[in-house]
Symmetry: C2
Subunit: 334 residues, 2 copies
Amino acid sequence: MTLRQLRYLLAIVDNGLNITAASEKLYTSQPGVSKQIRLLEEELDLRLFERKGRSLASVTPAGEEVVARARTVLQEIDNIRTLALNTRHEADGTLAIGTTHTQARYVLPEVIARFREHYPNVALELHQGTSEQLADMVEAHQIDFAIATGGQDLFADLVMLPCYRWDRTILVPREHELARLDGPLTIDALARHPLVTYVFSFSGESSLKKAFAAEGLTPDVVFTARDADVIKTYVRMGMGVGIVASMAHDCGDDLVAIDAEGLFPRSTTWIGFRRDTVLRRYMSHFMELFAPHLTDALVQRCLAAADQSGVDAIFRDVDLPLRGGCGQAPADAD
Amino acid sequence: MTLRQLRYLLAIVDNGLNITAASEKLYTSQPGVSKQIRLLEEELDLRLFERKGRSLASVTPAGEEVVARARTVLQEIDNIRTLALNTRHEADGTLAIGTTHTQARYVLPEVIARFREHYPNVALELHQGTSEQLADMVEAHQIDFAIATGGQDLFADLVMLPCYRWDRTILVPREHELARLDGPLTIDALARHPLVTYVFSFSGESSLKKAFAAEGLTPDVVFTARDADVIKTYVRMGMGVGIVASMAHDCGDDLVAIDAEGLFPRSTTWIGFRRDTVLRRYMSHFMELFAPHLTDALVQRCLAAADQSGVDAIFRDVDLPLRGGCGQAPADAD
DNA sequence: CGCGTTTACGTCGTTCGTAACGATA
DNA sequence: TATCGTTACGAACGACGTAAACGCG
């Protein structure tokens, strides 16, 4: 049994049981791949694939188990390589971050600018997607980090570290009646206007609806979008009152922002990564730049935890920063 | 990086950093081992060993991390091999059991006899030792199972499955005054006699002493041994009253047995094995022969648990059998 | 001078890529 | 006939073992 054989095995499985496609991804010849698989099957004396004629039809049940073990083997081999790079303080590589629009547009720019000062030779990839897509991307090793809000249940196999909390902000055009409001904004007042807000891909939306329902109200959501910039555009058009994450409020906006703190439950943004992965040094550092309380030592403690409940326990008495709009740096919540 | 390199690395570490010794264990030449290590260090661009002149002085901190990862890699490779053997229903191999004298002498013979009927081609190795020694032996892969009572804390990295519970039995010579006892035996009565019992290597002894202390008594232990047969010999000599595990009472004995149920806290015997190991089919079967409630499905559930607390939860509502003496099969506790 | 490691070198097995062949849709 | 996998074969590479040199106690 060789690492090469296991690598070939996974490549075949990950390329739809097509040996030719696998061999191309592996930058090697197709007969070589075939032969190594045959050798592996002979050594184990075990059929890994069901064959239909000459081509591979499916992975046998036993094969699935071998595949699973092979994945952890190759992951550990990768980890050894990463360990070596870390101790050498190697400062180049790639950082692939997957996140949502709000983070990418309003929160990350400043973090990434500081990151680049430290690591000019690390190539950055920014991927966007919904929580579900991010979960898949981490699983498929396409991204190193997922940064998202809510939907912790989607990321069952990841370490999820809370980064900061945030409230929602109400956006209205300057001439809107809510812009001239004297007292604090109430949820009843909001319910009397058409609303423009996010299509939440997870439990977020219902938490907003729940806040209305708790008062016996039904919000009049006339328009939803995934993207705060799109929402703002429609608010400017007078289509309704915008409800966006506070981070998405830019002081340069021509819209009037009304703090909605207290009206809706506070949200928490998480950063997540595969538990079984050794992080490159610059990855840990990125996390600390993004959320200063995530020191290297703390991250190590979280990785040592057996599962997410252990991680949650560590953060039980950590005060998370609260993040507002206008490019404001995180401030203390209390 | 090759599996061979990792295997050589571990062999060197496990042979006191002596490359020559390692190469002999590996049935290969010493220069070959040296070269592979050098290649590994070059590929990772990382010093794995501190050198003192030509020979290896110690493992570098980074090297320790690599060693740890390499161990899990080779463990998984082994697991793949085991998986293959299991699906082929291969019925030969080795079963190495580590246990204490009482199990080996009074409980296991019958289990092993039945096991041999099923698996005549599995070589059996029976190792004996204290709980501490057994823990080390499992860790060093010298035994597959440890069967022991108490001392769960010693086996931190193992899956520990409870097998049965047992009480203690009091043994006295036929002519002893306690042999003519009418009513139930009390702890006061015991305290009035010199006692002969086990040297418990773990918390067991104190639990016995505690039972006396709870009544404000101090037991007069005149002789201790690790071995029920030795204890019986000294009881026959009239040296004192014997307190042994119920399993150790043989109906053929010329001693009178008095049930001590209720006098002392009940003990539980466990079977433990490394969590990260795939069990050969005959190993699971052995467990079921030893403790019939440990079905394959249950063992699988326990392996899926993240840690021992998860395993304990599974057994919270499992009724363990109670085991008495005279080669008696386990009977229900209630 | 013995012990253990490294260097040097010839042999052998393995992997690789190319090319030809076979089966399937 | 196009696609995909297997078989065949020569070239290159890499691991192994032996032998000899080197350092250290």
